[in-house]
Symmetry: C2
Subunit: 467 residues, 2 copies
């Protein structure tokens, strides 16, 4: 395909994208396909000679779309939102064209420098303490990671390197394995799966300061890190940073704050108090690719001391050296992350922040929060239902009063009907339905329609129970 054909096909694709998103409400939000549906529709091997573009576009509607869960449908209320906006898509087109791999400053200075400045912009929108910003001469700064999981892992490895060096300096004979055996990381029991997923490490639950002290006092263990979660996946609950932060600070334990979903809300002054205590943290992370209109992937991570990251990951083969790297002025982001390669993702932030403006972004967050409260209000009107967790942002946890089996049956009916899509969670042994405001285009009418639909299915279910 040459540039002329790309001009033609690219414009057709722009229209296809706009048509898809404008018409998404009419598509069934959750697909009907069964596992294994796709393989028989596609040849077993790649074609020897090229297919035509028309063939492919026809196959998108015939083969792909019937198997798509439409995350951007206004009837999608599952998981958490994943961001989608036109400005971000335009920026992604530009990112693809430039196609630089920004592992070092020299590999594309604009890619590195725009990222540093955009992370400062975003940090200021959140009123992050100045210590987290790069500025002209700061010791901290921000980096775009691919996911909150990667940010948590990066923070954990940085903390481990720091603790190991400190202990080995104090006791030069100490082996790395002997250090490793003592280390323990702490997280809330509602922390997302990403926090728990790192094989080979030990992660303990803290609920009370008591537990935390006990682990330390046993002497067999050494606190490596505390991961505090702001806005858990199950019910959007918040760890109390003002409680755990000072303890970490006093004990010299690395505090990582993960606000993957909730972080976007902190750009609104009325939600900023939820971030109070972040001043005690060593690292902080949230995902603009969830709720801040920057398409996946864009996970924003800040650290107070960038040398904590570069100390853990520094990697300097000669083919990556460049003349400026020891100047102290530049950032080589490969030392801040696990992969070597990285795309020009800050373009998405730049386009979105400029084309929405802070006011536009705040209005977007507020609209979602308002819609979740509207849903909460509707649920509270119906005595058959109960709200299961405080509604703070865009997530409502609710259930039919009564046994879990009743709620499992309700969810089964909801998702089988295919009109809306929800997923459940467990809260204190209760099976609970999660209603998350997700789509950029969801309006009050969709929320009310979803509620009427749920009420109708609940009435059917309760009627059937009586028979």
């Amino acid at each position: 395909m040459n540039a002329d054909e790309f001009r033609r096909r690219g414009k057709e694709m722009v229209d296809y994208v706009a048509d898809y998103l404008e018409g998404i409400e009419a598509r069934q939000v959750y697909p009907d396909v069964e596992p294994g549906y796709l393989r028989p529709l596609i040849p077993p091997t790649a074609p020897q000679e090229p297919d035509t573009f028309e063939d492919i576009i026809n196959d998108v509607e015939k083969i792909i779309m019937p198997g798509v869960t439409h995350w951007h449908s206004p009837y999608f209320f599952a998981y958490f939102p994943t961001a989608s906006s036109y400005p971000a898509m335009l920026a992604d087109m530009l990112c693809g064209a430039i196609g630089c791999i920004g592992f070092s400053w020299a590999a594309s200075p604009a890619c590195t420098e725009l990222e540093t400045v955009m992370m400062d912009w975003l940090g200021r929108m959140l009123q992050l303490p100045e210590a987290f910003l790069a500025g002209e001469a700061g010791e901290g700064g921000g980096v775009i990671q691919g996911s909150a999981s990667e940010a948590t892992l990066v923070a954990l490895l940085a903390a481990r390197t720091k603790v190991t060096r400190r202990l080995q300096t104090a006791s030069p004979g100490l082996t790395q394995a002997a250090v490793m055996e003592k280390l323990v990381a702490y997280a809330s029991d509602q922390a997302p799966g990403s926090t728990w997923g790192w094989g080979g490490g030990r992660v303990c639950v803290w609920r009370l300061q008591g537990d935390y002290d006990e682990g330390l006092k046993s002497g067999l263990l050494l606190a490596l890190q505390v991961v505090a979660t702001l806005g858990t996946t199950s019910c959007c609950s918040f760890d109390n940073l003002l409680e755990v932060g000072p303890v970490c600070h006093k004990e010299g334990v690395w505090l990582h704050v993960d606000a993957a979903y909730a972080g976007s809300a902190f750009i609104c002054p009325e939600f900023r108090h939820l971030l109070d205590g972040v001043e005690f943290a060593d690292s902080f992370n949230f995902n603009p690719h969830k709720w801040l209109l920057v398409n996946f992937d864009c996970s924003a991570m800040w650290v107070k001391k960038r040398t904590d990251l570069t100390g853990a990951f520094k990697l300097d083969p000669v083919y990556l050296k460049h003349s400026h790297q020891d100047s102290g002025l530049i950032t080589d982001y490969r030392h801040w992350q696990l992969p070597l390669g990285r795309r020009f993702r800050s373009l998405k932030m730049w386009f979105v922040f400029r084309l929405y403006g802070v006011t536009g972004l705040q209005a977007y967050i507020r609209k979602h929060v308002q819609l979740s409260h509207e849903f909460e209000f509707l649920v509270r009107q119906d005595p058959r239902f109960e709200i299961c967790a405080e509604v703070t942002l865009g997530l409502v946890c609710f259930r039919l009063k009564g046994p879990n089996s009743r709620n499992e049956a309700l969810l089964e009916r909801i998702n089988s009907a295919r009109k809306i899509h929800l997923v459940p969670c467990h809260l204190r042994d209760q099976f609970v339905l999660r209603f998350a405001i997700c789509s950029r285009t969801v309006e009050s009418a969709h929320v009310r329609l979803a509620w009427e639909h749920i009420r109708g299915l609940a009435a059917e279910l309760l009627g059937a129970e009586k028979e």
Copy 2:
């Protein structure tokens, strides 16, 4: 921005992208900017009210482009190629619009199933042993990772989990830390940085089978994994799988084969022999996002036993459960990787494979290899220069005969002149220049021009030395 404005701006962006790539040859391949150039050109905070799209596009030329290293310029011969093609860019637009997060089958069946089938297509193009393919009922299969680093780490963690379980089954009292202390992974001394970067582990160099045996025989150590590299970053050398493979197989040591750059060439029958011995491997990885026209990121990884990965990473909070997951028919790719989230990256593979056809992809690889041999031929004509490593694929390692300082000075002149861009490597204590065929649009004329340019600078340098 609404759909109508996106239709307009999207089409303008398509033209901008095509103009950029058609005109890239006229842009200076490596930028003139100094570290810190960008911050003064941009306000310190995001705008409160929206900027216009015109403002942004003007700033792209004014602020971004002067700081871009143009990886797709036909005068870019640095690092290794990073893929860029129009079909992949079209697929990325579609991927952005669908915007699903494919962590489970249910989160978007098409996203998961197309990936499995595309990885089978690609595996067959490479004539991978059937054991690596998913097929209808295979135990193996492929997954798209973000980078070769992630694939290496995933393989390492899977191997560690497997070894630990085996040892703990044999000796139930054995602690994880006691196992960890014994484990050692092996890699070639020319393995890429990604292999060496994992803090907390021990990676030893193997050169000879002797070293490898010695490590095992000491009894203090236990071989965890061997990472063999096909096509190293420095000089594109190849570990001998037929030598190391049978040893690993006999000893039950996990063999991971990393062919990040070279792997794409194996779609050509004449280069397939370089992959011989992969039948002994447990996992294999290469990056279509380097040399197979699939824009970053798309790192293809296969395993023979998918349960080795899912055993290490399985993570099942209730909000990610779905009705099909225990059917044995489906794949939840979140168990195959580190992050939870993932984009619909297989669309890029599908578009590229179909719009180029296998024949077109092979022709592309062959053209690059031919151009590197053309450059090698030119270098060999000039008695002042020497070739420093066998030219197998698209990389030529060369230098001026004489001291390293002379070659450092030559590289300095080359990169200061800004007409072409190269990076160096060290081979056996020699400072060597790497000439990598990178751009999709590079032709014989560019290679010859680059060589004349290098010769001219070398003549100047040698002249200055004599003065």
